[in-house]
């Protein structure tokens, strides 16, 4: 497979609409069997967003992330290299790290004190030296594949996954202006949403719902002016114009230093992209919002939302991160609410796939990509 990173032209949502596109059948939103298949074919085989390199800046820093319902330790070793490990001791299976994040020079099991290096090698196992045939080298922590894209950490539970650079080739160089690897998160909010994860992505992928659901957003970024440049495949989205001189914040003013060397034409635009399967990337001139989805069951999804800013923005007097965070926290909750209502209705025997409108060409494209992955 070879892909070249040609940036396509922007087109209005309605121009890429395919007549006859309908929402997915009920089973995709309620069936445990489908959910299990998603965990196997998508979340255990694809590159899944787990975090950002700035979260583990120093040697010994680690965080713990759930991927496909597995607890994974992501750690920076003494040489600065990143590693991913299943959070499971090789002795009696005990969970090694309990907290969400931390700093340590080794990984030590809280039960019998077996100790691993930050590269996963077993370095201490009391009394086991007396056991005939015991070989520490055979009992390293089980590793998880890990790769970086624009500073974001992706993990892959497959044994021999397609390299991330190959999969992400269509995005190569595309977002350089936003300076993503250097950004730092000012805030994380965790949401527990009673809706299927696909409803959340479909919701993110259209602004047909904005007039009724998001009155404040609608004032700053009219719903019918979306233009998309990624219209088919695992990466989907484009931009919406922001009313000139404004920002998507409570006050309507910019809340921080620009995140990067934003092009003039992009100063009044917000870029929304979904990165299959679990990343939603919202790039504003002054901040970048990232949603990370973790499906828990057919009817429940946990979402981490981070707000990233330029590292130099933090110490300046014009830094007002809450102006953006409050705006989007409000908007997020409006979205989760309608997603939950959709989950409830779709569970009815009366539900049938309904017609997508011309304003919903991106959700329809996402559904097609999803079905390709589920084959």
């Amino acid at each position: 497979m070879s892909q070249t990173a040609v940036t396509p032209a922007f087109r209005k949502t309605t121009e890429i609409y395919r007549v006859g596109a309908k929402t997915l059948p009920q089973r995709y939103f309620v069936s445990l069997e489908v959910f299990g298949k998603e965990q196997e074919l998508i979340f255990s085989k694809q590159w899944v967003l787990a975090g950002h390199q700035s979260q583990i800046a120093k040697a010994g820093d680690y965080f713990v992330r759930e991927v496909a319902r597995e607890s994974v330790i992501i750690v920076r070793d003494q040489r600065g290299e990143l590693h991913g490990f299943y959070n499971v001791c090789r002795h009696r299976g005990t969970r090694l790290c309990e907290g969400q994040f931390g700093h340590s020079s080794t990984i030590q099991c809280p039960y019998h004190a077996w100790t691993y290096g930050l590269d996963g090698r077993l370095v201490g196992a009391p009394h086991m030296d007396k056991v005939q045939g015991f070989d520490k080298a055979e009992l390293s922590l089980h590793a998880v594949e890990l790769a970086l894209w624009e500073g974001f950490i992706f993990v892959n539970l497959a044994d021999a996954p397609t390299p991330l650079e190959e999969v992400f080739a269509p995005l190569a160089g595309k977002f350089t202006h936003w300076n993503l690897p250097q950004l730092r998160s000012a805030k994380r909010i965790e949401y527990d949403v009673r809706a299927n994860w696909k409803l959340i992505i479909e919701n993110y992928s259209e602004c047909y719902h904005c007039p009724g659901v998001h009155p404040a957003l609608q004032k700053l970024t009219p719903y019918d002016l979306a233009e998309n440049d990624l219209c088919e495949g695992p990466f989907l989205g484009g931009f919406m114009p922001i009313t000139k001189g404004h920002s998507l914040t409570m006050t309507g003013n910019a809340c921080a230093l620009p995140v990067g060397d934003i092009k003039a034409e992009d100063h009044d635009r917000v870029f929304y992209y979904s990165v299959f399967p679990n990343m939603l990337l919202s790039m504003h001139p002054d901040f970048v919002m990232v949603h990370q989805l973790r499906p828990q069951s057919p009817e429940r999804t946990l979402i981490h939302c981070d707000w990233f800013f330029h590292p130099e923005a933090f110490d300046r007097s014009d830094f007002h991160p809450n102006d953006a965070i409050e705006f989007w926290d409000m908007t997020n909750k409006q979205d989760w609410h309608v997603c939950e209502l959709s989950q409830q209705g779709i569970a009815s025997r009366a539900y049938q796939p309904g017609p997508y409108s011309p304003r919903e060409s991106i959700p329809a494209a996402w559904d097609r990509e999803y079905l390709r992955r589920m084959r």
Copy 2:
């Protein structure tokens, strides 16, 4: 099928006892498979109590009721006609009405603002006019069959159900004296009971338990004087005498104007009838209590209990509804408690069907009717 409404004579419970009748086998109270079959053969095929016409007195009034675990909107349109609809938008399946009741001139989806008339027709769908072949007429709300009996609203999820008048023929004219269509509810209490719905109906259908479980009730209406006139089939029950000059209230006094033109002989009687599958109708001279059952799982039932009074009673100085409500709320809770104990015991491997006593001929008759419906 043709049935004529001949009122049968009243007979003592013990006279209609059949030797050898036993309680149902365990699986009927604990099996998810049986529960699913009940939802399919009974709650999705029979006329099920949903409410009373007085709850939606004006055009635009609606309430939302769960039937066979489906959310159904019941609404009065501009011409005064009642309609039932699945609470599911035809666009992306979103639940339309969130609250339990309300008033509106249209039904509008909170997600993308698709709008339906009170008769269910799609009248607004932004941007869909640009879609080739799109026809609003094909996207009306999915309707649910609805019919009235004595002012009570029944719904039926079947496609072509036997007309309600035909099913309810045995009751035609029987309760006219109680003035049921004109009554109004003063109070609704919702109970969440950890017992199978059939245990609740079996409990309602006998007073063999009254001496031990209901000491206050027992004083006003001795348990061994029940007389029944409906002894087999979907409608079962009769009356119990009330101590002369008393009423089933905390004070023992009448709490309101008589509900209707009650016959002299019925002035000291309370009539208890079960209406298959989910209505319990308790007619006192001064009020009518109605239980509406909604099975949630083999081990859990939600119950709505309403207390209805004469519409002219409300504004009078001799109106003391709490006198009745408190009495029956206390009595209800006593009943739910023993139903929950039965649920616990029946789940044991030691449970075997036990012998019904001569005082339990009505529960035994109800079990027979239930088994006929489950065939």
Copy 3:
């Protein structure tokens, strides 16, 4: 089967280690099917600890215990004999006793007042005398087999179990010095642990974890000095020395009169034995701690922990039961925590059976016994 009670010699844990022993495969800790098989083959067929005779000292005293998810009434009748009954009325299956314990001259159903003697015979059933062919003798409470060992009450749900004396023959006379039948509990604590019951027993069976998990215990009883005399089979364990002149209490001092006629050499020893399947017996010179396990699901176990003392200890001024209770409550919670971490890690797809160390020969022996019972 014939077993003689020869007391074997004490041997260090490491001497009985078998090279190659590994922890159990994942399914034994997470599978509902395995859990069901355990309930059937072990908890419904073996003698299971239910309590101590001192809990029902007087005629009419009873307590209610859950065994294999069945509620069982254990009662002392007027003649002093103990009985076990399923907590299920023979009429309509209602649970008879609601509380955890009580005192009564009969067992009466709270629903329709059917009444049973303390020996289980039906002695009252209102109105049933009028039923042709009704025979009280056929409707006694369903009995559960019950037997005593050293004052502890064991029940067995099997129809014709191997007599308890035969099963417990290897322990005959072994613990006489501790005076177990005469002891009385000063305190019971109930723990709700999110871990498989086998993890709790495996944890109890080794002190390899003590240095890291129990710093206070470790000071009083060094982890590497365990010696065992029961090394294979349903009864497993031995002793650990206590630092001379000390006791396993918060202060390190003895907290009560010796429980029995303890041999001189045992004055500085604590004896730990697991009694298959659900009893953990910890005998100190001054008190006896007993854990009773009740598996609720593959991932959850309820544990009763009692602290028993000499009956004459209670009224003396040197009686400080909390000194022992607080010490072990702290230690218990340290154990439950690592058991819960193990449960979480073992549920991972990365878990594989790991190698037991030479210090874990007793858990390995327990696993072998468990697998024999599951065949």
